[in-house]
């Protein structure tokens, strides 16, 4: 049964927020979970984090960055129109508990999946230090939502167009020595960012989880396309994740696999040059 779009607004250029009717998902969903959707009859299946819920209305919020065909088709739908297929909630919920002080580090669109986790951490009694960043001011999303649930909100932009000039990891590095000391960290954003956060917190001995954004198809553990290496073992992001111990994730492999279909045409050309004789 298709799901109705209840509300839609742009948060930044190419970043759209949508409330979608999905009663049972809204009832079941816990922070950290995602869903898989197909905007139309011919579309790919893509994973998106459930950024928020209104349980009474039976609605879930998605925050989507337009990066390719499927996200473009989704963003083109208007309130009152329908999303063809929505399946979820998928993945393990975030292990929410009282850690003490939790650093929530988000980059770019990663702030969207970070928001429900940061909120739940706050509700569990943690002191929440949020560090969010974007390439430039116009791309920074959810600043007010994050401020509302954070004890400290630190902001960076790569180009210095807003607040602090630099990367989220620059701020995190400084904050690691501040007070209160950080007990636990959550990192969600581009792969290089998550890798850099993991490197910092590993040195500092702070347990850290990262939410991985692999390519997925079914989201039910059936295809193995979302596999990642964590601590030397192969895991399926959709059923074993999406969050893993950031200190154990092979981020370089994750980045190469994310490039699979971007690289694809180039690779096609290359493939023709491979020799023809077997053994």
């Amino acid at each position: 049964m298709p799901n109705k779009i209840l509300e839609k607004e742009y948060l930044a250029e190419n970043v759209v927020s949508m409330w979608i009717e999905a009663r049972q998902i809204a009832k079941k969903r816990q922070p950290g979970q995602f869903l898989i959707l197909r905007p139309g009859e011919r579309s790919e299946r893509i994973p998106l984090t459930i950024a928020d819920v209104r349980a009474k209305e039976g609605a879930v919020r998605l925050i989507v960055q337009v990066v390719g065909k499927t996200t473009r088709d989704l963003a083109a739908l208007e309130a009152g129109e329908y999303v063809r297929d929505v399946a979820g909630p998928l993945g393990h919920p975030t292990p929410i508990k009282h850690y003490g002080t939790v650093a929530c580090v988000g980059g770019g669109i990663g702030v969207a999946p970070l928001l429900p986790i940061a909120r739940a951490m706050k509700e569990a009694g943690n002191y929440v230090v949020s560090i969010i960043g974007a390439r430039t001011k116009g791309l920074l999303i959810l600043e007010e939502d994050m401020r509302a649930i954070s004890d400290e909100l630190l902001i960076t932009t790569d180009d210095g167009s807003y607040v602090r000039h630099g990367l989220v990891t620059d701020v995190l590095r400084e904050r690691l020595t501040g007070k209160p000391g950080i007990d636990f960290a959550v990192a969600i954003g581009p792969v290089p960012m998550m890798k850099a956060v993991a490197n910092l917190t590993r040195e500092a001995g702070i347990a850290t989880i990262a939410s991985l954004n692999t390519i997925m198809i079914d989201g039910t553990g059936m295809c193995g396309g979302c596999r990642v290496t964590v601590g030397g073992r192969v895991k399926y992001t959709c059923v074993d994740g999406p969050e893993f111990d950031a200190h154990e994730v092979d981020f370089d492999e994750l980045q190469r696999r994310l490039n699979m279909y971007r690289d694809h045409e180039l690779h096609q050309l290359e493939a023709c040059k491979i020799g023809l004789a077997v053994r």
């Binding site: 049964m1 049972q24 998902i25 079941k28 979970q33 197909r38 011919r42 579309s43 790919e44 299946r45 065909k69 499927t70 063809r84 297929d85 929505v86 399946a87 979820g88 909630p89 998928l90 198809i217 079914d218 989201g219 039910t220 553990g221 059936m222 295809c223 193995g224 396309g225 596999r227 990642v228 290496t229 192969v234 399926y236 059923v239 492999e253 190469r256 696999r257 490039n259 699979m260 279909y261 690289d263 694809h264 690779h267 096609q268 290359e270 493939a271 023709c272 491979i274 020799g275 023809l276 077997v278 053994r279």
Partner: protein, 466 residues
């Protein structure tokens, strides 16, 4: 003079290796009747014992001889609700046809082809409007509600039998399309999706409710279905859907697929169509590891989406290949090359993470193992490298964790498969299971047999409760 086994017309190999149309074209009426006439109408038909659901084989064949195709279909439907599918995909050579008396001295009756003919004949007449479809039916008011989880052959069959018995049946499927392996795994050229759709549509007309995009274990747990949603019983037919990999270096390189992913992209997501939105890596040189039906399907699919060379690499020998005989034969005719007694040890890629070659070692057959098959042992120093740009791993599946993780009181064995009695009853009251999630990867017809037995158990248990 005895009539020889009637061959099935097929698309020629050099044509079909470039298209996704069905390979065998089916019997004509005349061929079907000629083949049916071969049956000796045995008083104690051994063939029936070879069929996991005991189709009344001589009886339906007799109807074909009488040109009563409708009557033949009714007989088959008495025990098998998906004949167009079974006629195409059953491994007949190890089931019904293996036990046919004619097999002792020559070729068995082509039972599967006849079954397919009967089902197709009636369906085609229906589609042409030459025959009125049965009127839609709905379960009687107040009928007990049963939930079926998973829409593969086990779930569909269990649903069909419960509908027949007047139950109110809802089927929950995780994907956006019902059918299980029949839609995401087995390719169009072997089992056209229109046929699967038609068989499912027939169940919907009889009152089956289907909820797609419903991942049970997450959207609803089994306990939710029983306690909150008001289902009197739940049947779990979720298949053995999690792919195994080889556990060798380089397996996560770009270009290494599980057969499930490769086939899902092509079948479910239609990546073979020019305007499909789901991408797939189209390798020039493709190696498929494994030799079951899944491996044959992957190899033949790779050819059809443009590979120049496709190798099946198998660590045992030809005699041990588990695939249906017809699939191996078709793959060979289409130009798939077979490399026996080779075992992959590592994949190698370029600096951007793309697969470039595989290193294999040669094997020889040693002593028989537990399964009675001779165990392959490596030949020291026999390693060799082969350039490839797509690898498809088809070495089996394991149990999916979703339901097990969220149903703690459901007993599973050491491999995570659900433990049941002969009738599909699990350790949890009112919960039944069958198909690949109980047996591990098996066959369509065995999954259907399990679905039938569970339906019988559900009916008798619910009635027992009054």
């Amino acid at each position: 003079m005895a009539i020889p086994r009637q061959p099935m017309p097929e698309q020629p190999p050099e044509v079909r290796r470039h298209n996704f149309d069905e390979v065998p074209l089916g019997y004509t009426e005349e061929l079907a009747i000629r083949e049916a006439q071969r049956c000796l109408q045995c008083k104690k038909p051994a063939c029936v014992d070879g069929c996991p659901v005991n189709v009344a084989i001589p009886q339906f064949i007799e109807k074909i001889v009488e040109r009563d195709f409708e009557g033949a279909l009714q007989i088959i439907l008495g025990t098998n609700s998906l004949p167009a599918i079974c006629g195409r995909v059953c491994p007949q050579e190890t089931q019904c046809e293996k036990y046919c008396v004619l097999a002792k001295r020559g070729d068995p009756v082509a039972i599967g082809r006849l079954e397919r003919f009967v089902a197709d004949h009636v369906r085609i007449r229906l589609m042409r409007g030459e025959k009125a479809p049965l009127p839609p039916t709905a379960p009687p008011p107040g009928a007990p509600k049963v939930a079926i989880v998973g829409s593969g052959p086990a779930g569909l069959t269990c649903a069909a039998d419960l509908l027949n018995a007047g139950y109110n049946v809802t089927l929950f499927e995780a994907l956006h399309e019902p059918g299980g392996v029949l839609v995401y795994g087995i390719p169009e050229f072997r089992l056209p999706k229109a046929i699967v759709k038609a068989e499912i549509q027939a169940l919907v007309r009889r009152g089956l409710q289907i909820v797609t995009n419903a991942v049970i274990g997450r959207l609803y747990t089994i306990d939710d279905l029983l306690n909150e949603e008001g289902y009197a019983a739940v049947f779990i037919g979720t298949g053995a859907g999690t792919p195994k990999f080889l556990k060798i270096p380089g397996e996560n390189l770009n270009g290494v697929y599980s057969a499930n992913e490769f086939l899902t992209r092509v079948n479910l997501m239609k990546a073979y169509l020019p305007d499909a939105e789901t991408p797939i890596v189209r390798g020039k040189r493709v190696a498929v590891f494994g030799a079951g039906n899944t491996a044959m399907d992957a190899a033949r699919t790779a050819l059809r989406i443009g590979a120049e060379e496709v190798y099946i690499m198998y660590r045992r020998s030809r005699a041990e290949m588990p695939a249906r005989a017809e699939e191996i034969h078709h793959a060979e005719e289409e130009g798939v090359k077979f490399e026996f007694l080779v075992n992959p040890v590592a994949f190698y890629g370029n600096e951007r993470g793309w697969l470039q070659s595989v290193r294999c070692e040669r094997m020889q057959l040693g002593e028989p193992d537990d399964s009675g098959r001779r165990r392959p042992v490596r030949i020291a120093g026999s390693e060799f490298d082969t350039p490839i740009n797509v690898a498809i791993v088809a070495v089996g599946t394991e149990s999916n964790p979703l339901i097990r993780q969220t149903t703690p009181d459901l007993q599973v064995n050491q491999w995570g498969y659900i433990v049941t009695d002969d009738m599909g009853r699990t350790s949890k009251p009112r919960v039944y299971a069958g198909g690949d999630i109980v047996t591990g990867a098996a066959t369509v017809i065995e999954a259907m047999g399990a679905g039938k037995r569970a339906a019988r158990a559900i009916i008798s248990d619910l009635q027992g409760k009054g």
